[in-house]
Amino acid sequence: MSVDVATEIVRERSLPVRAIRDALAVTGRNLIAYRRVPQLVVFSTIQPVIFVVMFRYVFGGAIALPVSFFPYVDFLMPGVFVQTVVFGALATAIGLASDMKSGLMERFRSLPMARSAVLAGRTLADLTRNLFVVLLMLAVGFLVGFRLHTDVLGLIGGILLLLAFGYAMSWIFASVGLLVGDPETAQAAAFPLLAPLVFASSLFVPVQSMPGWLQPWANHQPVSVTAKAIRFLTLGDSPFGHSSDVWESLVWIVGILLVFAPLAVRRYRRAI
C-alpha cells in the first residue's frame, strides 16, 4: 500500500539485539529515577542503618549467642545485608505497579520493543541499586565494628550471593506488583509476605533461641538460609552458617527464579 512508506528512521532489528538494547534503555530510565528521587534509595538505606544501630547498641547486649565464636556484631551484619535486599525488592513491585497505573505500560506495549525489556530493565535497575546499597551497608558495618573472619574472596562470594538473592526476590515482587497494579496496594500486599520471612528468621537472633516448632521454618526458609550462607562466607564455618547453607541458598535462588520469572512474565502479558 502506498501509504506504508517504510519509515526510514525506524530500523528492523533482530530480537536478541532488541532484547538487550531495550532492556538497557529501560534500566537507564529506572536508574535516572533513583538518581533524581533520592528518597527511594535513602529509605532503603536508612531503615537498615537504624536496624544496625538498634541491634548493635540497644538489643545487642541482651542477645547472647549460644556459642560465642565471634561478637554479636559479626553475626548481625550478614543478617542486615539480607534484610536490606529483601526490603529493597519492594521497589520492584512499586515501580512496576506505578508504571501500570500511569499508563506507561500501555504505551510500552504499543511500541516495537522486546516484550522482555520492561521486566528485565526493572529488575536490572533494582540489582544495580542493590549493589550500591550493599556497599554502603558494608561501610556502615565496618564502622560499627564488623570484621571479616575469612578472606576477600569470601566477602566477594558473599556479596554476589546477596545480589543474586536480591535479584530473585525482585521477581517475586515483580509478580506482586503486576498482580495488584497500584503502588499503594503493592506496598500493603508485600508486608504480610515479608514479615514471616524477615522476622521469623536467623537475621537478628540465633534460631537456636526460638521455640522448637518455629525452628524448622526459621532454619530453612530462603531469607534465613541466605543469611547463614553469607555468615559462612564471611565468618567461616560455625553453628550459624555452614557450607551447605550456600548450596541451599543457591537452590532457593534458582527455584524462586524458575517459579516467579514465568509468573511475572505471564502477569505482564495480561496487564495493561
Binding site: 502506498s2 501509504v3 525506524v10 500511569s102
Partner: protein, 348 residues
C-alpha cells in the same frame, strides 16, 4: 469474499489505512465491543464518537496491539493485529487518555526513551526530540523533570511522544480531555498539519464539536456497536445547528407547551418537565417559540440554547441519553474515570 478480505489481499483499489470487521471484546461479563465495523481511508482523520464506556478505548487498544480481540478482524496498513503485531507497532503512534510519560524523566529524556524503544536510529533521536519539543511549545521545560509540568504540558508531551518515530498512523484517545482552550486549538492545528503530511489519524472523542472540526468521517459508538457512520456535518444536519431546551414547572405544563409548539416545529420532544427542539435558525426559533408560549401564558421556568452535543446525537439516534452507562462497563472498558461530558450552554 467480503470487502475486508479483498482489502487485506493487497489488491485494494481503495487506500485503506485501518480496517475493522466484526470486532468483539469482552471483559468478563461486560461486552466492550459487540461486533464493530469501520474502515479509515489513508491520509484522513476518522473519529470514534461515544460516551464513556461505549468501547472507543477498547477499539483503539486493539488496533494499537495493546489488547487482543476475542473475535472479528482488524488490520492497520494491511497488517493483521493478531498475526503481525510487531509490523503494526513499527508504524503507529499511540497517545492514550492518561499522560503516559515518566514523571521522573525530563521531557527530552522521555522522548529519547520512546525513540530508543521505537527502534529509531540513535543519531536521529536528539534532533527529532528537539523538533517536537519546539513544536509543542515545551522547549523551555525540555530539561526539567516532567513531575514539575502542568497537566496540559504533560498531555502535549504525551502526544509528542507518540510522534517521535514519525508514525504513518496515529491513534489519539481523547487527546484534548483536560487541555485548556489554547492547547486544544494548538493540538487541532497540529492534527491538521499531520494529515496534510500524509498521516492517518484515528481519534476518539466525547465532543461532537471536536469530531466536526477534525474528522472527515465519524463512527458513533454505543454499547460496543456502531450506531452511525457518517460525515459529522450529516450528523449535525439531522439535529439542526441549534438546540433549545425549555424547562417548565411541571410535566403537564410542559406537555401543553409541546402540543402548542408541535404544529410549527415537527422535531419537538418532551422529557419530563423539559421540552427540547432543534433548528437551523437559532434566533428566529427562539423568537417564535417565546412569542407562542407567551401568547398561551406558558412562560418557561428555564431556557437554554446550545450547539448539538454528543448527547443530542445520542438522543436523536437512540432515544436515550449518552450517559446511561453502567458502572461496570465503564470500569472494564475504559479504565479509570475521566472528567465528565462537557456541554456548552449559552443562556438566552
Amino acid at each position: 469474499m467480503t470487502y475486508f478480505n479483498y482489502l487485506c489481499q493487497g489488491t485494494a483499489v481503495t487506500d485503506a489505512a485501518i480496517e475493522v470487521e466484526g470486532l468483539t471484546k469482552r471483559f468478563g461479563e461486560v461486552v466492550a465491543l459487540d461486533g464493530i465495523d469501520f474502515w479509515v481511508p489513508a491520509r484522513s482523520v476518522f473519529g470514534l464518537l461515544g460516551p464513556n464506556g461505549a468501547g472507543k478505548t477498547t477499539a483503539v487498544r486493539i488496533l494499537a496491539t495493546v489488547l487482543e480481540p476475542d473475535g472479528g478482524r482488524a488490520a492497520v496498513l494491511g497488517h493483521d493485529v493478531v498475526a503481525e503485531p510487531d509490523a503494526i507497532r513499527r508504524r503507529i503512534g499511540l497517545a492514550g487518555q492518561f499522560a503516559a510519560v515518566d514523571p521522573n524523566l525530563t521531557g527530552r529524556e522521555n522522548l529519547r526513551l520512546i525513540g530508543l524503544l521505537s527502534q529509531m536510529e540513535t543519531s536521529a533521536i536528539p534532533p527529532r526530540a528537539a523538533e517536537l519539543l519546539e513544536r509543542f511549545d515545551l522547549s523551555d521545560a525540555a530539561d526539567r523533570p516532567v513531575r514539575t509540568y502542568s497537566g496540559g504540558m504533560r498531555r502535549r508531551l504525551d502526544v509528542a511522544a507518540a510522534l517521535v518515530p514519525r508514525p504513518p498512523v496515529l491513534f489519539l484517545d481523547e487527546p484534548t480531555t483536560g487541555l485548556d482552550l489554547h492547547s486544544r486549538n494548538g493540538l487541532w492545528d497540529m492534527i491538521n498539519e499531520l494529515v496534510q503530511d500524509g498521516t492517518t489519524v484515528l481519534l476518539t472523542t466525547q465532543y461532537l464539536e471536536e469530531a466536526d472540526r477534525l474528522a472527515e468521517r465519524v463512527a458513533v459508538i454505543d454499547h460496543g456497536q456502531v450506531i452511525a457512520n457518517d460525515a459529522p456535518s450529516v450528523l449535525k444536519a439531522q439535529l439542526g445547528s441549534t438546540v433549545a431546551e425549555l424547562g417548565f414547572e411541571d410535566a403537564s405544563t410542559a406537555e401543553q407547551a409541546r402540543e402548542l409548539l408541535a404544529g410549527r416545529h415537527p422535531g419537538v420532544e418532551r422529557e419530563g418537565t423539559m421540552v427540547r427542539l432543534g433548528s437551523n435558525e437559532g434566533p428566529r426559533l427562539l423568537v417564535d417559540v417565546l412569542r407562542r408560549l407567551d401568547g398561551a401564558q406558558l412562560a418557561p421556568a428555564t431556557l437554554a440554547v446550545h450547539e448539538p452535543s454528543l448527547d443530542d446525537v445520542f438522543l436523536a439516534l437512540t432515544g436515550r441519553h449518552a450517559e446511561e452507562i453502567s458502572e461496570g462497563a465503564e470500569q472494564g472498558a475504559e479504565g479509570p474515570a475521566v472528567p465528565g461530558r462537557r456541554r456548552r450552554r449559552g443562556a438566552a
